[in-house]
Symmetry: C2
Subunit: 151 residues, 2 copies
């Protein structure tokens, strides 16, 4: 045949995007229903709960979100009393952000639920397949990152 029959459903980036969206949507529903959190807010909670106090700049690196998204998420969390800002002596432009007691309590509830949801979403994969999947994603990530700037 003259033209190779390329179907959208076989196109890897398409499949990746669709899968990622369906997973994200499912998770977003759960967080919104249970905690009233959006995914950006949840990510900030997860990082602060795991890594302790840090600036927005560090949050940008840790969550891979842009600084505006991080700022907005932090503002919401602060207004809800889940995180607190304290001055940064070493740099007057930024603050240290950390979970409040309420924030820690919520973090303690969220993480088991998150991990359980991960387990359920990927239960169709065996443990070895999950590891394999994770490592494939990480490699693709690196490759696409490198492709971004040069060339």
């Amino acid at each position: 045949m003259t033209v190779r029959n390329a179907r959208l459903a076989d196109f890897l980036p398409y499949l990746l995007s669709v899968t990622s969206n369906v997973v994200s949507d499912r998770i977003a529903d759960e967080y919104r229903a249970r905690f009233g959190l959006k995914i950006p807010e949840w990510r900030v909670m997860a990082v602060l709960g795991d890594g302790g106090a840090m600036t927005q700049r560090l949050l940008v690196g840790a969550t891979r979100m842009d600084k505006v998204a991080v700022n907005r998420a932090c503002k919401v969390l602060e207004e809800r009393g889940l995180i607190r800002r304290s001055p940064n002596d070493r740099d007057g432009r930024s603050h240290h952000l950390e979970l409040t007691a309420a924030g820690k309590a919520m973090h303690g509830e969220i993480m088991p639920i998150a991990l359980d949801m991960e387990r359920r979403l990927f239960s169709t994969l065996g443990a070895a397949e999950r590891d394999q999947f994770k490592s494939l994603l990480a490699r693709i990530n690196v490759a696409a990152d490198q492709m971004e700037s040069p060339e």
Copy 2:
């Protein structure tokens, strides 16, 4: 500069989302630069080029986009003269949509480029790994889909 944060960075849905986004962004840049197409528009082109004339309803199923997104993409493509509407005798509410000559020409250019980009983005994976990855994505897709409807 990636801050190490064991939990979030190991969370599979997060890794999936980040990877999907970096891949999508990379591809979106390419289509926009070369053809002035957004991804939804490209998807419609790909499906029509592969499947021939069909209604928006069928496009919704084939592209996994919602009907508003499909409608908007079709409108843009029609205004650019890449697709054409013809009446649907069997249902007065909808039209058949198909590529024009110009649309077919563009489709002929796009597909090789798309496949090449896929090849480059996933070149870090061997052929067997790519197949594996594809099948893992498909399985996750099915699982998350099933989880959507309340149980």
